[in-house]
Each structure stands twice: as C-alpha cells, then as structure tokens.
C-alpha cells in the first residue's frame, strides 16, 4: 500500500498534476509513510524530468509543470518531517532570485527546478529582488550558494551591489555566488567577483554541485 502511494505521488509529478500531488502527499502522511522517503520520491521524479529535458525528450512546459506539482506537495511532507523531528538531507541550500529592476522569471525558474533535481533545497525569492532582500535571506537561511539572475545589461550591475554588501557584512566567504542570465558573460562574472557562471540552466545546476564539492 505504502509503495503504491509513493508511486502515485511520483506519477502525479511526472503527469504535472498539482492536485494529485497534493492528494497523494497527504495520503502518504496519513498512511504514516516516512515523509523523508516521500520527499526522495518527489526528487526522483523531478530528476527524471530533468534527465528527459537534458536528452531533448521533454521541454520547458514539462519541467515547469513538474516543478509546480512538486512545489505543491513539498510543504505537506516538510511539515510532517518537522512534526516527526526528522531532518532532510540535501546537497545544500540555494538562495535564488532575479535582481532588482529585472522581472524576468523563466530562466531563473528553470535553474531552480534543475537545482532541485540535483538535490538542493532551493529558496526562490522571485524577481525584482533588492540587495537588502538577498542579504536578509542569506542571513536567515545561511545557504551554501547565492544565485542571481539578470537578463538586462542595465540591471546586471545590481549583482555587484549584492556581492559588495555580502563582503561588508562579512558573509561573502561563507557562501558561493553564482550568476547567470542573458546579460551575463564569463568575464562579467569574474569581474564582479562571482564564483561561478554558466550560460545554460542545465550547466548552472551542475556547476552548483561542483561549487559545493558534490
């Protein structure tokens, strides 16, 4: 029975079905299935989607749909983990957002999904995020990686502002900084003192693992 519920949970993500994902996550909790195991199943599903995307069999709408289904189910399982006093093992935590003045979301959302598939816990702050908001999230969650996106040449300098603030607050050495987006180049990333840059979402997620030594 437990295995059947987990399979249904996984299938709901593979079918991009948020409602089903929520239902099967609840059923998993009600059936006293280990919520850590259920979360692993969600990660397996999103990894399969990521692999399909990498091979060219699946496309962005598939990835975003699966990610949304996973996001809908995850809080239910996380709450169960918290109640049980357990702790989720992850590769690391990533704080992610599009910088202030820039509202482009899609590329960043792709990276978030693929990082999740790589085993990271991803805190996606959204778009138009100020340096202060990035810093607040870093102070609160102490992530291994801060990842920033910018599609516009006019907003890319915001990344340097964030890095400068990290330095001034003594937080810079405690995490790795990744940057990406249409406006960013390798030389720009190096120039502002970022630790990593990749022009693609798939490459960015792989780079994140390298940066944390996994």
């Amino acid at each position: 029975m437990g295995e059947e519920i987990l399979q249904k949970l996984k299938q709901s993500v593979l079918a991009y079905d948020q409602t089903a994902a929520v239902d099967w996550a609840r059923k998993a909790v009600e059936a006293s299935i280990d919520p850590l195991r259920a979360l692993d199943v969600l990660t397996e599903a999103i990894r399969e989607i990521g692999e399909g995307f990498g091979k060219g069999d699946l496309f962005l709408p598939d990835m975003v749909g699966a990610a949304d289904a996973m996001k809908a189910a995850t809080p239910i399982l996380e709450a169960a983990i918290e109640r049980s006093g357990g702790k989720r093992e992850t590769v690391g935590t990533v704080v992610l957002g599009t910088v202030y003045g820039d509202i482009h979301d899609i590329g960043k959302a792709m990276v978030a999904t693929l990082m999740t598939a790589q085993g990271f816990k991803v805190l996606d702050l959204g778009v138009n995020i100020t340096a202060e908001q990035f810093l607040a999230a870093v102070r609160e969650t102490r992530p291994e990686i801060l990842a920033m996106s910018s599609l516009l040449t006019t907003t890319a300098p915001e990344m340097k502002k964030v890095i400068d603030k990290l330095k001034s607050e003594g937080l810079r050495e405690k995490l790795k900084v990744m940057v990406g987006g249409g406006a960013i180049t390798e030389s720009f990333a190096a120039g502002i003192g970022a630790d990593g840059y990749d022009p693609t979402a798939v490459g960015g997620a792989v780079l994140a693992r390298h940066l944390v030594g996994k």
Binding site: G56, L60, I106, M110, T154
Partner: protein
C-alpha cells in the same frame, strides 16, 4: 524624401473577415474584463476621467470598448518622420514599406563567430555602413548595438542615439525609453530638427511600468509620434496559440494608444509586433521560426481594420550564430512574408542571432534582401508599352530575338532588380575572380564604405557642441540618481 518601396498589390490576408472581427472583439473583452496594469498615477487619473474603470490599488485600468475604438479611429493612417536631412524624411503608412536595422547587444567575430561588445569605433562604423545602405529607410532603437565598451548602461541609449545622429542623416524610426533616456533623446532630436517615434514598451503580460508611461507623456507633450508595443513570447509571457497571442497583443498595445489619443487626439501612433514563440528547449525566443511570420501577417491584417501604421519587428533575424545559410533563409523568409502581409516598417539590416548579435557585413547582405523584396512589392506594370505586342509582332519567330531592341535596352533594368554584392558570375568568371561568395563581396563592400562614405549633412560645430552639452546633462542626471 526617402520613398522606400510601395506595395502595388493587395496584402496577403490569412484571416477571414469573421476571424478578424472575432480577434478584435476578444481583445476588447480583455481590455474591459481583465484590464491592463499601468503603474503610473497620473495616467490612471487621466484614463479614469475619460471613462475607464480604474482600480488604484491594483493599478488596473479597464477600458470601455467605445473609448478604445474611438481612440483607434483617431490615429492617423500615415505620417511623416523628419530626418536631419530632409532628403531622408520618410512617410510611414498605407502601402509604403521601409526597412530598418535589427540591433544587437554584441558584434561578432567573422572568423570565430564569438560575440563580444563592440568598441565605440565599431559602433560608429556600424552607423556609417547603415547610412550607406541604399534601401534602409530609417534607424531604430539601440542601433546598431545596445551600447559599446566603456559606456555606462544608463547612458547607452542616449550616447548611441547621439552617435546615430552624428554619423547618419537617415530618419529615426524609434528610440526606446529606459530610466528616463527619452528626456535626453528628445532634446537631441529637437536640437537637430529630427522627429522619431518614442517607444512605449509593455512588459508582458498586460503591464506598463512607470518609466514607459513617463516617456509616453513626454512624447505626446513634445508632439512626437509614439510606437506602442513590445510584444510577448508565445507560451511564456503570452498564450502559446496564435489567436490568443494576437488577442493579448492587440489588448496590450491598444492601451497606450488610448492614453495618447485622450491626451492629444490625433497623436501619430504606430503599433509594432515583436512577438516570438518560445524555444521550449532553451527558454529563448525562437528567432527565425516560421510561426513568427504567421503572427506578423495576421497582426498586420488586424491593424488594417483601423488603418494603423504597423511595424514587423520580429522578422529579419535568425537563431543562427553565423552569417550562413540558416541565417539567410530565416531572414529572407520572414522579411518577405512580412512585406507581403502589409507591414509598413520591417526590421532587417544587420541582425544575426536574435537581438544578441549585429554586424555591418550582414547589413550589406540584408540590403540586397531589402532590394529584392522591395522590387517584388512593386509588382508588374501592365500597359501598352510593357505588353510589348507591337514588338512581339516586329520580332516574330526565330531567327528574331529581343536582345538588340530599343525596348529591351529601355526596360530590362526597370523590370529586374540588379543585385550588387552577391555572386552573379558565370562559373569561369567566378573561378578566375577567386571563387568569392556573397560574404566575401559583402566584406569588401563594408571596407569600401568605411573608406569612402560621407554622410549627406555633417553636424555643424554649434550642433556638435549642443549634442555634447545634452550628453553632459544626461551624465549629471544619472549621476545624481546613483546610476553612474
């Protein structure tokens, strides 16, 4: 006046009249039911006074159908853009067709195909080559590049506009607005007697940010024309279906048209289509896809319901990173279909990979495409002279021929478009000449332009001084706002 080309036959129509009415009807429904978010207090107040329903908390404006249709009918069906040299003024609208450059963020190395930011000299060279392109009617935003090495992002648009005005006398179709750049672009234009369409760009879906609407107020106050639009990416910031995308497009672009017309009835307004499908592998717009052509033709047809000036902004580019076969066919197909579909202004010259790369060599090649498409648009003249019945009678069957006749000498050049920078040689000639390709000829042409081209009207010393004064003012402005 730069006449551009005139389409002498009916534009290609891919929608039935019923489909046109349905799409417009649904767009008007969206404007009333969903509305448009306009993040500008003064605009909300103006629109409310003119009959719109405004939710100030959500900054959402719902437009009544009557107001929208009345506003669209007030838009002039054609208008003139004053260039620095009156010989280069252009008239947009009706069946006229002009070509304009496609800008790029970077230039590209022609050996390695690696993109990189251009130098200031490369920016100037790019402007000079475009100025020399015979079939280019007017410049556009960020042309040829978004900026150049060393220019601060906040000043990139204005510095680029100053270089365009300094090194070219072509008309300026439009300039974008970002963080108040229109303040200084308007000053530059007025100082040099130029008019351009100020761009009011939406952020899809259905949103206008404050700086765009600030720009709209300033353009209308200055009596300048306004280009409304910005488009969306189908499947990402707009519906994946063509019909839904067109509905969203019309609704989005009609909103600033209404604002222009209530502020100053009769404001010259154009609507531009920069809609792409999304490349669902990469998340980039699908540059050069045939779907874009379908969208542009349908969009032009829809705009003709109100006789609006319409630009095809999403054509004339490719997903290829090189100047190659793919680049050529994607550009030529999209430009030809846009021209057949009735667009008044077509983006073309110099664009390679989307908005990411531009090169003067590509611009020279594109001028050939423009010439060929333009010739096609002029159609076939049918009169006694061209019917040539008397000549046919005079020449008769073999051994008669037409080569030595006065009629042939008079007409052949008029009837055909003569390509200038592509390979038209016989095989022996081609071999003897070093087996050159169109790319080789285009490179040579660019070198020739840079060595010899002179603009028709250089700036006077006092004009140059005024340009520099305005630029200094721009730097002061952005410095005071912490953007430099």
């Amino acid at each position: 006046m730069h006449k551009g080309f005139t389409r002498k036959f009916k534009p290609l129509e891919i929608l039935t009249q019923e489909q046109v009415e349905t799409i417009w009807s649904r767009a008007l429904d969206v404007l009333w039911v969903t509305g448009v978010r306009i993040e500008h207090r003064k605009a909300l107040e103006v629109l409310e006074r003119n009959g719109c329903c405004v939710d100030y908390d959500q900054m959402r404006v719902r437009f009544p159908q009557g107001l929208v249709e009345e506003s669209l009918r007030k838009v002039p069906s054609s208008f003139r853009l004053k260039a620095r040299d009156p010989a280069n003024d252009v008239i947009l609208g009706g069946s006229t067709v002009h070509f304009t450059p496609f800008p790029g963020m970077n230039t590209v190395d022609l050996d390695t195909w690696e993109p990189r930011p251009p130098t200031k000299q490369e920016f100037i060279d790019g402007v000079r080559v475009l100025d020399a392109c015979e079939h280019l009617g007017c410049f556009g935003s960020y042309t040829p590049y978004f900026g150049y090495q060393g220019v601060p992002p906040a000043m990139a648009i204005t510095e680029g506009f100053a270089l365009q005005l300094t090194h070219s006398t072509k008309a300026q179709f439009m300039e974008g607005t970002a963080a108040g750049s229109d303040i200084f672009n308007l000053q530059l234009a007025k100082a040099l007697g130029v008019e351009y369409c100020g761009v009011v760009a939406c952020s899809a879906p259905l949103t206008y940010y404050e700086d765009q609407i600030d720009g709209l107020f300033r353009y209308v106050e200055a009596g300048f024309p306004v280009a409304c639009g910005g488009g969306h990416v189908m499947g990402a910031s707009g519906p994946a279906t063509f019909a839904g995308s067109l509905v969203l497009d019309l609704a989005t672009d009609a909103a600033p048209v209404v604002l222009c017309q209530v502020l100053r009835p009769g404001t010259r307004t154009g609507m531009g289509d920069i809609g792409f499908a999304m490349n669902m592998r990469t998340g980039s717009p699908d540059f050069g896809g045939i779907g874009t052509s379908l969208h542009q033709i349908a969009r032009a047809q829809l705009c003709r319901k109100f006789n609006l000036v319409v630009g095809a902004l999403a054509c004339g580019i490719s997903s290829s990173k090189r100047i190659d076969f793919q680049c050529g066919y994607e550009k030529a197909l999209s430009v030809m279909t846009a021209a057949l579909g009735g667009a008044n202004l077509i983006w073309l010259h110099g664009g390679i990979y989307g908005e990411l790369t531009h090169h003067p060599v590509q611009a020279v090649l594109d001028d050939e495409i423009a010439g060929m498409v333009g010739r096609f648009l002029q159609g076939i003249d049918v009169n006694d002279d061209t019917l040539a019945v008397e000549l046919i009678e005079q020449v008769g069957p073999i051994p008669g021929n037409y080569l030595a006749t006065a009629h042939t000498r008079e007409w052949w050049k008029k009837e055909q478009y003569l390509q200038k920078f592509t390979d038209r040689l016989t095989l022996p000639e081609w071999t003897a000449a070093g087996k050159k390709s169109a790319l080789d000829y285009a490179k040579e042409r660019v070198e020739q332009i840079l060595a010899t081209h002179k603009i028709s009207k250089p700036l006077t010393p006092s004009e140059e001084e005024e340009v520099q004064r305005i630029l200094r003012e721009g730097y002061d402005y952005y410095r005071s706002r912490g953007l430099l």
